[in-house]
Amino acid sequence: MSNAESAFPKIVTAGADAILVYLGEGIDPEVNDRIMVLTNRVGSALGNKLYDLVPSYNSLMIYYNVLSLSEDELRECVRKLIDELQQDGDASGASKQSTLHTIEVYYDPSVGPDLERAAKQTSLSIDDIIKMHTEQEYRVYAMGFAPGFAYLGELPEKLRLPRLDNPRTKIPAGSVAIAEAQTAVYPSESPGGWNIIGRTAETLYDPQADSISPMKVGDRVQFKAVSKDEFEQADGSLESLS
């Protein structure tokens, strides 16, 4: 084992009632697969002593009830579960059984105000950008920031752009965005600093619905380009950005 590998698992204190467990560094589908498996196992083993579990790219945040568990007990239990996980080996089965979501996107400068600049900066045509953004499946690495916001990765190298220097104060719901190696849909109107290249008519967060979001960590997403007519028929809004 190299030094880099032996740094993980790493467990840190994240307050009086939470610990954060890292299984690796950066954005790595294998690490994210193991985070998912660990999330399920921690939930099954300790569920009634936990009040929340938040998986992300390479980490799992475990919020526990201090009245039923001590941090030492929790750490010991989690270490055991990680040992078992390592003995079981390959965790990639977890994401192979995941759900594939297809999201229809209207890619156009009228709803994607950064599309033309993205083309210039990447030396690609708008059609190339659409093709590259739609031709691969993305993985849901994390859910958070805002309700139903799925961090999707990884973008092809050529499509990677920095975040905006000055985040916009208001981005319409359904905006499809890219930043660095990530892409996402803004489920609700919110501020944000990612590059907007299109819009979907799909509802990814409805506070009045029964379910918060159709997506979960480990799921897969593929974007599909649709015409303006198709977008409008699906009740897509052409409201421009302020």
Binding site: A16, D17, L20, L50, Y51, L53, S68, G144, A146
Partner: protein, 317 residues
């Protein structure tokens, strides 16, 4: 029922919060000063989770349309029941037709108004906590604050003996509080200068603070060089963005974030931070996690807090 005659600067419905949905990006919400909130429920013999009004800065006027019993805790402000001047941190009987008028906070920032039995507000995802950025909770269900003309139902069925909170348990919001920092997250990655400055310097509460985060202004803290991918953010986390000015994440925080964090404020101290007015000073001092955990256990036991834990099916969908 009570009728809101004047909603003041900003008044929201809060129960103890929405638990179990962080993995979907839905934050907890709930009272930013848990100490004052829990005392109000305790004064009335309510469940810890009974819904109350969180009144920012004051200015609320309500009319009771039925008999009942209420309690008022938190920031120091004038309060009148009709013409009678009230002292905070105790419970009062009220008759139908009486009006409660709360002035503006002299010290502190938020008051809590509880009624015996709790306000009856339709929950969404197991809570009626108002979270504006998530468009959820509150009387209208969409995260908006209360407005003049709104009415809230409650059922007051158990007469309560007169109770008041002893001075020893109340906070003096005019003082500069010293809050415990539980070192954690990337604490070890921060340069020594930043770790020391955070616990030795005074910081000032910025006016850009809200229920998502309290922004501090003070000596700029050096941040770790190593970048982070997004990870879970606990309530009380001390985030340090690249400008070196710390932000303490509060109850409406985003669930994930990628800024480095020095650790987390002791949860039993966090209410004092929530009560600071912009421009007030605050100091920090390191506290061992085990000490903070023992304090939190006592705090939950004293107020009979039963956190909703979801069993093996923890990740709600």
């Amino acid at each position: 029922m009570i009728k809101i005659l004047d909603a003041g600067m900003r008044t929201t419905v809060q129960d103890f919060g929405r638990f179990g949905y962080l993995s979907k990006g839905l934050t907890r919400g709930g009272p930013v000063d848990e100490h004052a909130f829990l005392w109000a429920n305790r004064l009335l013999g309510n469940s810890f989770n009974a819904a109350q009004l969180e009144i920012t800065l004051g200015g609320l006027e309500v009319e009771f349309q039925q008999d009942g019993c209420f309690a008022l805790t938190g920031a120091d402000a004038d309060a009148h029941l009709d013409d009678e001047s009230l002292t905070l941190w105790q419970n009062f009987d009220v008759k139908a037709g009486q009006r409660l008028k709360i002035g503006y906070a002299r010290a502190g920032l938020r008051l809590y108004l509880a009624v015996q039995g709790g306000f009856q507000v339709e929950p969404k995802w197991h809570s009626c906590a108002t979270v504006e950025r998530d468009s959820v909770g509150g009387l209208s269900g969409d995260g908006s604050p209360l407005q003049s003309g709104d009415t809230l139902r409650f059922q007051c069925d158990t007469p309560q003996p007169s109770r008041r909170v002893s001075w020893a348990y109340r906070s003096d919001y005019t003082k500069t509080p010293v809050l415990g920092l539980i070192p954690g997250y990337q604490y070890d990655d921060f340069p020594m200068s930043a770790r020391e400055a955070f616990c030795y310097e005074d910081f000032e509460v910025s006016k850009d603070s809200n229920r998502m985060g309290i922004r501090l202004a003070g000596k700029s803290l050096e941040t770790p060089e190593k970048g982070l991918v997004s990870e879970g953010i606990n309530i009380g986390s001390v985030q340090v963005p690249s400008d070196g000015q710390p932000i303490i994440m509060m109850h409406d925080r985003q669930t994930l974030g990628g800024y480095p964090k020095l650790g987390v404020i002791n949860p039993v101290d966090l209410g004092k931070l929530a009560q600071l007015q912009p421009g007030q000073k605050v100091r920090f001092s390191r506290v061992e996690a085990s000490v903070a955990q023992q304090q939190l256990r006592r705090f939950y036991q004293f107020f009979n807090v039963r956190l909703p834990c979801q069993g093996g099916d923890n990740l709600r969908s």
